[in-house]
């Protein structure tokens, strides 16, 4: 950090040159300032190095005005933060001991040396005024001489003692004028030496050399050779490979010539042994050039090594601050074997589950569970589920005890996914249309997608492993009952149980330590810390990913296309399982008062004769999780028109999904087939009876007609209609012919009951007007009689059937 401070520096501050023409050419510490005398005493902070010797230069006296001019002209500046001292300078005695104490010592060498050095200069520097006098070179020399004479013990020359005191004093001033400033540079001792460049093979001789062969002494390890060994150690000596294999691969890759054999194939011809590293060289230099590649790491796979072999001060979700900012998607197969919904004895194998989890609190907002393998369609269904209001769906599943408000619809800004189901253009484009981006984690790095992976684990344990037919996510072991034998559940039941578990996961209290904010807003207001509550809380504070594409609009973009037809009664859906045949999903239809829908419906009503039925077909959009509505997109302006369900069976939409309705129709088809047959038989009998009546009437008429002398004219037939009518009326009772019983039937009835026939002769006359019935053959006639008699004991419908049968036979006889 640079400073623009332009005041007189004070002792202890540091002046740093920032221009090559600065008066002070190196970082200097101010020791003394005298403005009146225009003097400033400074000392260079950094030690100098000469011929392997490290030393500090002495204090320098400079003109204060010149230094200030430098500061004014920004050639140098005052470092406000000073200079960080050497660690050993700032260390206490205890710290030094902790760092440098050797085995058997009570006081470390460096500590005792520091104390000794300070003792040497202590009389000179412990008094502040005396210390300032040392900045005068002449006085300094005098005092150093006095002190040298005082401590001189004859072990070294006086001059050497003087020089030693001078050096310690310089260091004392340079490193901050504290007792710790005289700490020696022992810490720098014993450092790693410079690696020697090899010019010839070192180490013991190999066998050929020992036996007098020349030129086969072994490989000289140049820098390039060492680097190659390091590279190969890191990359070739991995899990599943031995050192020998890694060595041979290194030889092939780096120490070989590529040649073509007679068949044109590439062959690696290894260089002579003396030109490639030996195994010991490979091991030695491989390890040396690969710090951090310890043996334990070699036991791990490359991916695990990437994951574990480094320190991360954070988590993959630490940069998530809002709901919907980043979700996580993944699919897995459920650990259950299922049976068919139609017949529980039919095994259908396992199913797939796709989960969508919000990264902020691990809230599971939606899922797909079904037989379809993960694909663009199922991923879309999962996202649709995440966005859909679940009220209807819960009712359909029979989970009315769940509060739909705890199923929070979330639209995601981006989602984390692995490189399987979502890595295709269809999904990328579909999710882009709802404003959701995708982040693909690295290959086999599903640990970066931990939110959804742990949710998978939770659901496996909460649902899959507790139901019939579970595989427990493990391979079958001998002696154990097969999961498919134990299978009892249908997919619908699995969906219900998964929904139950997801709800429990989202609404169960979390054992987390609440933050102060959480405590204030939730805990103290008696609100439980559940994933659902936390998510709602974040949303209420505006911590959510938003977009101009609203949730409803996003949902409509994920709706699935379905074929339907405009009919006079509304829109009927076409069955997808009927092939080319056009069959409606009959029990339900969809209606809307939108002008466009009314126009299309009207067309289907009035233009049916002119066009083919197919022309009224169109594509609609539907949400499998909300069957009470479908949408129609106006192709001209893109408007999305909502159509509502209309059905006589009010329970149907909440009890059945579309597939169930189709299934129901298939089952109903048998009943309808039988009903149709019965209907046509009944009608046929009716028409047969009518034909008989017509024939009898016609014959009676003809008989009367023939009795006339002269055929009457049409006018005479039509005349006197009114009188005839009055005359006829007189013959009737209540204006209608009163029913009289059939003589035979009455006789039969009186025989069976034992009561006399009470009908009048006039009534009998009515029946006598009817032409006599032809006599059937004695055999069939007798049979009929017995049938009628028998039937008259039972109910009237059987009796009627018997009479009709007899008439029919009579009719056949006439013909």
């Amino acid at each position: 950090m640079t400073s623009t401070l332009k005041r007189v520096p004070v002792p202890g501050e540091v002046i740093e040159p920032i221009h090559k023409k600065a008066l002070l050419q190196s970082l200097s510490r101010v020791l003394y300032v005298n403005e009146k005398a225009d003097r400033i005493v400074v000392i260079t902070i950094a030690p100098r190095r000469s011929k392997g010797r490290l030393y500090f230069v002495g204090p320098m006296v400079k003109s204060l005005s010149l230094v200030m001019t430098d500061i004014d002209k920004q050639r140098s500046h005052i470092k406000l933060k000073g200079v960080t001292p050497r660690p050993d300078v700032a260390s206490t005695d205890v710290d030094l001991d902790k760092k440098y104490l050797r085995h058997g010592q009570t006081i470390s060498n460096i500590r005792s040396e520091r104390a000794e050095r300070y003792e040497l200069i202590k009389p000179l520097v412990e008094d502040y005024e005396n210390r300032n006098l040392l900045f005068d070179p002449q006085i300094r020399q005098e005092r150093i001489s006095v002190r040298a004479n005082a401590v001189h013990d004859g072990r070294c020359s006086l001059n050497r003692t003087k020089k030693k005191i001078t050096e310690i004093l310089n260091q004392y001033f340079s490193e901050g004028s504290t007792p710790g400033a005289v700490t020696p540079f022992s810490g720098a001792k014993g450092g790693r030496g410079k690696e020697r460049a090899q010019v010839k093979k070192i180490g013991r001789h190999n066998t050929p050399t020992k036996n007098g062969k020349t030129g086969v002494g072994g490989c000289v390890m140049t820098e390039a050779n060492k680097d190659i060994c390091g590279f190969c150690w890191r990359n070739y000596y991995i899990r599943g490979k031995t050192i020998a294999k890694a060595l041979r691969r290194m030889w092939r890759e780096f120490y070989s010539n590529v040649e073509l054999d007679e068949r044109g194939r590439v062959q690696h011809k290894l260089l002579p042994v003396s030109q490639r590293p030996t195994r010991s060289q490979f091991e030695d230099w491989g390890k040396k050039r690969s710090p951090g590649h310890e043996s334990w790491k070699k036991q791990l796979t490359k991916f695990n090594l990437n994951r574990l072999g480094r320190i991360l001060f954070g988590t993959s979700d630490q940069d998530i601050v809002a709901v919907g900012q980043r979700g996580a998607v993944d699919s897995t197969s459920v650990d259950i074997e299922f049976v068919s919904t139609a017949n529980r004895l039919e095994r259908i194998g396992s199913a797939h589950r796709i989960l969508i989890v919000d990264g902020l609190y691990g809230y599971i907002s939606g899922f797909y569970l079904g037989l379809e393998a993960p694909s663009a369609m199922t991923v879309k269904l999962a996202f649709l589920h995440s966005l859909t209001d679940k009220t209807e769906w819960l009712k359909w599943l029979g989970l009315s005890d769940q509060d739909p408000l705890n199923w929070i619809a979330i639209r995601y800004g981006s989602v984390l996914a692995d490189n399987t189901d979502l890595r295709c253009d269809a999904v990328i484009n579909d999710l882009h249309s709802i404003g959701t981006g995708i982040k693909f984690v690295g290959v086999a790095r599903s640990d970066l997608n931990s939110a959804v992976e742990s949710s998978h684990h939770i659901l496996h344990r909460m649902v899959d492993h507790n139901l019939w037919g579970t595989t427990h996510g493990q391979r079958h072991e001998r002696g154990e009952e097969h999961a498919d034998i134990l299978a009892r559940h249908t997919v619908v039941e699995a969906i219900r149980e998964t929904a139950r578990a997801v709800y429990a996961n989202n609404t169960m209290e979390l054992d987390i330590r609440p933050t102060l904010e959480l405590r204030r807003d939730l805990v103290e207001n008696g609100i439980k810390l559940t994933r659902a509550n936390l998510t709602r809380w974040a949303i209420s504070r505006g911590k959510r990913s938003t977009s101009l594409i609203g949730e409803d609009e996003a949902r409509t973009k994920l709706l699935l296309p379905i074929r339907g037809t405009f009919t006079p009664h509304g829109i009927k859906l076409l069955r997808s399982d009927a092939g080319r045949k056009r069959e409606f999903v009959e029990p339900i239809r969809y209606i809307s008062r939108h002008p466009l829908i009314i126009e299309r419906v009207m067309k289907s009503k009035v233009e049916r004769q002119r066009v083919q039925a197919v022309s009224f077909d169109d594509d609609f959009l539907h949400d499998p999780y909300k069957p009470t509505e479908i949408f129609f997109r106006n192709k001209f302006d893109g408007e999305l028109i909502r159509l509502e369900l209309a059905t006589k069976d009010n329970d149907l939409p909440f009890e059945c999904c579309l597939a169930d309705i189709v299934d129901l129709m298939n089952r109903d088809a048998l009943y309808l087939y039988d009903a149709g047959t019965s209907r046509s038989e009944t009608l046929s009998e009716l028409e047969a009876a009518q034909e008989l009546t017509k024939k009898e009437a016609s014959e009676a008429y003809q008989e009367v007609f023939n009795q006339q002398e002269k055929p009457p004219s049409k006018a005479s037939l039509r005349s006197g209609k009114k009188e005839n009518r009055e005359h006829e009326k007189d013959r009737y009772q209540y204006g209608m012919p009163v029913q009289t019983p059939n003589v035979e039937t009455v006789e039969a009835h009186s025989e069976t009951t034992g009561r006399p026939n009470t009908y009048s002769s006039a009534e009998k006359t009515e029946f006598r007007d009817v032409p006599p019935e032809p006599q059937p053959s004695s055999k069939s006639g007798a049979a009929d009689e017995s049938e009628i008699k028998e039937a008259s004991k039972g109910d009237s419908s059987v009796l009627l059937a018997a009479i009709l049968k007899r008439r029919e036979r009579a009719n056949q006889h006439v013909h």
Binding site: D227, G230, G292, S414, I438, G442, T546, L548
Partner: protein, 307 residues
């Protein structure tokens, strides 16, 4: 996993004809796209639009995505995976402003640059077709007055990585960076190497949330609500907690919760409310000032990235 498509001259020509590596803004198409056949063993790849455009952008690492997001917050237009053609070609800004086209320098192409630097250029595997290099981010800075200098190249590389500890005979990273630098130099454009670790961590998390609300078309109904709100309260916004913006929009302007959140985020992204996004945003407190200054400082550092 799907295989990479075989590269032929015909395919290259077709890709170029279809607009690969060309166009500006919404019409730009990157050279490399995230497909089924090119997953990364290390990086998190991101497919998502970056404001102010709605086209899908393809970032091959999370750092690229974050830096693109940061630069777009500054107002820059991002072209990711920008091609460095092997043959001589025009300046990246050619035809954006036709009046300066004649003054823009041309590039000799990466092949010539590599030859000069003694770096093997490389070919598509199994062919003799020269490889088409791409640079991570090509940034257009609309705020720079000198239009020929308003472009900048950014190569996104981790500044700290374990692999830097070792000498890798097969690692071409430094060579590539040098070639990219020379390329930028030839076109007289700023070039620098960036990494997300250069910037404070929370800024990316906040920008990622706010970016969803970066754009609000003026004819959109919500824009009318925003204008009404700003007319009434703009002077006092920075003195009150951010949650008040949200609450007022719901209570006084009958906005839905989603709409209120969107408008709040829109104001923060566009710094209508001066708020420092480099630290976590606290709704219960008045916004910390410094967002505008930060944006200005980052713009300057981006402009000063010349080598």
């Amino acid at each position: 996993m799907a295989r990479a498509p075989k590269v032929t001259w015909r395919r290259v020509e077709e890709s170029i004809a279809s607009g690969m590596g060309t166009g500006f803004g919404e019409a730009y198409r990157p050279t490399l796209e995230i497909k089924r056949w090119n997953p990364s063993p290390m990086s998190v790849q991101v497919v998502k639009p970056v404001p102010p455009f709605n086209r899908l952008c393809h970032f091959f690492s999370h750092s690229e995505w974050y830096l693109a997001l940061l630069f777009s917050w500054l107002g820059a237009h991002i072209r990711e995976q920008y091609p460095l053609w092997p043959w001589p070609h025009r300046h990246p800004e050619y035809s954006r402003f036709p009046e300066i086209d004649a003054t823009l320098p041309r590039s000799e192409g990466m092949e010539a640059i590599c030859r000069e630097a003694g770096i093997p250029h490389g070919v598509f595997v199994g062919t003799n077709i020269p490889y088409i290099w791409s640079i991570d981010l090509c940034i257009f800075m609309p705020w720079v007055e000198c239009r020929s200098q308003a472009t900048c190249f950014v190569s996104v590389k981790p500044l700290e990585s374990e692999r830097y500890l070792y000498v890798d005979p097969l690692d071409r990273g430094p060579e590539k960076l040098e070639a990219e630098r020379r390329f930028a130099k030839q076109l007289e454009l700023p070039y620098f190497i960036g990494d997300r670790s250069l910037y404070p961590g929370p800024i990316f998390a906040e920008l990622e949330v706010l970016s969803e609300a970066a754009l609000l078309p003026t004819q959109h109904p919500w824009a009318i609500t925003l204008n009404r709100f700003l007319n009434d309260y703009q002077g006092s916004l920075e003195a009150n907690p951010l949650s008040e913006i949200h609450d007022r929009l719901i209570k006084d302007y009958k906005a839905s919760a989603e709409q209120a959140t969107f408008l709040q985020h829109h104001m923060l992204w566009n710094q209508i409310v001066d708020c420092d996004v480099s630290s976590p945003i606290r709704e219960s407190l008045p916004p910390r000032k410094g967002g505008k200054a930060l944006r200005q400082a980052l713009r300057k550092s981006l402009e000063g990235g010349r080598k």
